[in-house]
C-alpha cells in the first residue's frame, strides 16, 4: 500500500509521521509539497500536525485554500483515504471535508487557584485515553475543542475518556459520512516506538485502513 504526506510550510510533525508510516506500511511515504497541484496516487493521504502557514487567521484556514487541497479534495471524493492529525484535522474541517469546527481549548477549570486576571493556558500536551478500546495516545494542541451544532449527527471515531479540551460530547476524532476521511486531535505517530507511551498508533491505522 502507498501512503503520502502533505507538507505545508509550518508542518512540524513530518519526520515522525514519515517514520510511523514507513514502519507500518514497510514502505516510505511520498512527500507532497503544498504548492503541488497534482498529487501521486496513494491509498492513504496524511495531513500532519503543526502550524501550517503559522496558523495565521485561524488554525488550518490558510492551508484549506492552498493549491494542494483542491487535489486532495478530489482524491477524497474518489474514495481514497485521508487522515488529518491535529493541525491536519483542523485543515480538514476548514476545507469542509469533515463537519464541524475546532475551537480554542476550554480548560480554565484546571488552572491553579491563584486569582489573577490573565490565566491563559490553551496548549496541552499529554497522553490521553480514547474510547473505544482504551487507546493511549498523546495530544498536543491549543485548538482542539471540537464543536458541531448537532453533535449526534457526526460520525464519531473516538471520544476522550477524560475530556482535556472541552470538546462537545467528548469528541476526539471523527469520520466523514463515507468513512474514508478521518480527523483526530491525538497524535498516533507519537505512539509507536518502543519508548513511546504506547504502541496504539498502529491500531489506529489498522482500524482505518482495514
Amino acid at each position: 500500500m502507498h501512503s503520502a504526506i502533505v507538507v505545508f510550510p509550518g508542518s512540524n510533525c513530518v519526520a515522525e509521521m514519515e517514520r510511523f508510516l514507513d514502519s507500518y506500511f514497510k514502505q516510505a511515504p511520498a512527500m507532497i509539497w503544498h504548492k503541488d497541484t497534482e498529487v501521486p496516487e496513494a491509498d492513504l493521504y496524511v495531513l500532519p500536525g503543526g502550524f501550517s502557514y503559522g496558523d495565521y487567521l485561524r488554525a488550518g484556514a490558510l492551508a484549506s485554500i492552498s493549491p494542494v487541497m483542491e487535489a486532495i479534495k478530489k482524491k477524497a471524493k474518489k474514495g481514497n483515504k485521508v487522515l488529518g492529525v491535529c493541525n491536519g484535522f483542523q485543515i480538514l474541517c476548514e476545507t469542509k471535508l469533515l463537519p464541524g469546527t475546532l475551537r480554542i481549548n476550554d480548560n480554565k477549570t484546571k488552572g491553579p487557584i491563584i486569582p489573577i486576571a490573565t490565566i491563559y493556558r490553551n496548549f496541552i500536551c499529554k497522553p490521553v485515553l480514547l474510547e473505544p478500546h482504551d487507546y493511549l495516545i498523546p495530544i498536543a494542541h491549543g485548538e482542539g475543542n471540537y464543536y458541531h451544532s448537532k453533535p449526534t449527527s457526526v460520525n464519531v471515531a473516538f471520544t476522550y475518556k477524560d475530556n482535556p479540551n472541552g470538546s462537545i460530547n467528548d469528541i476526539a476524532g471523527i469520520f466523514n459520512k463515507k468513512g474514508n476521511v478521518l480527523g483526530m486531535m491525538p497524535h498516533p505517530e507519537r505512539a509507536f516506538e518502543d519508548y513511546h507511551c504506547s504502541q496504539d498508533g498502529y491500531k489506529i491505522l489498522d482500524m482505518f485502513i482495514q
Partner: protein, 524 residues
Amino acid sequence: MIYYTIMLSQKEIQLIKKRLNREPNECELHVFNAMWSEHCSYKSSKYWLKQLPNKAPHVICGPGENAGVVDIGDNDKIVFKIESHNHPSYIEPYQGAATGVGGIMRDIFTMGARPIANLNSLHFGRYWSASDVVKGIADYGNCIGVPTVSSKCHFYTCYRDNPLVNAMTVGYTNGKIFTSIPTKKGKVYYVGAKTGRDGIGGAVMASEKFEQDQNLRPTVQVGDPFYEKILLEASLELFETGAVIAAQDMGAAGLTSSTTEVALKGNYGITIDISKVPLREEGMEPWEILLSESQERMLFVLDYNFDQKSVFAIFDKWDLDCIEIGELTNHGKFLVYGWNKIYCNIPLEALDPPELKRKFEKPEPRDIWPADINLKMDWLWEQYDSEVMGNTIKGLEHDPAIVRIPNSRKAIAMTTTSNAALCLTDPRQGAVEIVTECYTKLKSVDATPLAITNCLNFGNPENKGVMYEFVETIEGMKEVCNRLNFPVVSGNVSFYNETSGRNIAPTPVIGGIGLIEDYSCIVQ
C-alpha cells in the same frame, strides 16, 4: 519615541577618536556603542572566561562560536548552548521569552545542526511574569516544532523586578559543521525577515541597570516562530548545497555584529550596501537599520561561484527573501554605504572592544528569601509540547531529560542546574555544587557526561561585590570542571541584573549533556 542612549564612557569615546584619528560620525558612534556594550563585547568577563577549561578530545568547537560542538561518534555531532534573555523578559515577558527561545535555536541551526530539544531554567519573583514567560517559551517552541523537554522554575524575591529567563537548545547533525569563520572571500547574503524598528538598542539595553518607570518596550524584539521554522528548513537545505562559506545569525546588535564578526574572524574587510536591506517600515535611519534586532534573520557568506539555480530554488520554495548586500574584501574595514553616501568607514581592528579588569571585593552578606508562589509544575509543563519530533524518551517530569538521536539507538541525556541560595552564601562552593549536581544527574541514567554550557547571571559588574561573586564563581567552576574533565564549550554572561539599586543573587546556570550509547537500557 525610541529609547536609546549612548552608553560609552568618556574614556571610551577618547579611545575611539584615537583609533579613528578623527571624530566618529553619528552612525559610527552607534556602531561602537552597540559593539562595546557589555552584552556584545563581554568586556568585564572576557579575561575571566578564558580561564575555564574548554578542551577535550571530543570537543569539536568550544566557546567563541555560535554554540559548542561535541563529537558523539559515527560522525554524529551535538551542538548546544544556553543563553539568557533576562532584560527583554522583564520589560515584556511574553515576547522577551519567546524571542529568547528563537535566538538560541538560531544559534544552533546557524552551525548546520537541527535543533532536537529545548530546555529552560527560570527564576522568578512574581507569578504574572512566570505565567507570561512560560506561555512565550511554549508558544514559540511548540509552533516551530522543537520539543521542550526540561523546564525548571525557582522562586525568590530577588527576582521580583529582574526575572531570569535562560533558554538552552540542543541540536544534532551528522553532516558538516558550519562556523562564522570564512575560509575564503565571498558574497554576503541577507536571508529571512525584513528589518524593522523593533529591538533597536537591545544589546545596549541589556547592558544597563533598570529604573522602575522606564518605558523600554521598543527595545524588545517581536518573534514569529512560523517564520523561524521556514528559515530553519531553508537554512539547512542551503547548507547542503555546498555554497555556504560562513553563516551567522543576526542576534544582538543585528546586522552590525553579524557582519563585523564574520569579517573579523576571517581577517577580512567587509563592504555592505545598506540600501539593499529589505525594510519593514519607511524612514529608517542608517544606524537604525544597522542596529535593529528584528528577529528571524540570517547572514550567509556564499561562494562566488555558487550554483545560483539550486540556491535560489530553495528560497523560492520557502518564499524567503535572499538578497546580496555586500562582500568580503581585503581592505580590513567595516565599510557601510548606500544611497550614494558612506555611513561607516571603520578599520575592523578599531572595533575590538577594550578588555576591562574590574575591581572586586568581598561584599557584605546578603539575604535571600523564597517568593511565596504556588505554581504547580505539572500545570506549567503541560503547556510545552515535549514530544513533537517523536524522539523524546523522558521529558519534563524526568530529570535529566532523554532524547533519542533520530534513527539510531543513541540518546542524549540533558539537564540544567542552579542553586541561587547556595551561590549567594558561597559563590565558589555554589559553582562547584551545581556543576557536580549536573554531572551526577547525567551519570544517574548511565550517560557519559560530555560537556557543559553556562549562563552566568549576575548583577551590576561596576559593583565590586558583584564582581567578586563573578570571579569566585569562575574559580569554583574552573576547579570542578578540571577535576571532572567536564569542559565548558559554550555560554553566555548576563550582567546588569539590577533594578532600582538591587542586585540579584549570583545565579550561574549550568546546562549539561551526556551520551547514552543504547537507550534500550532505559526503556523497559
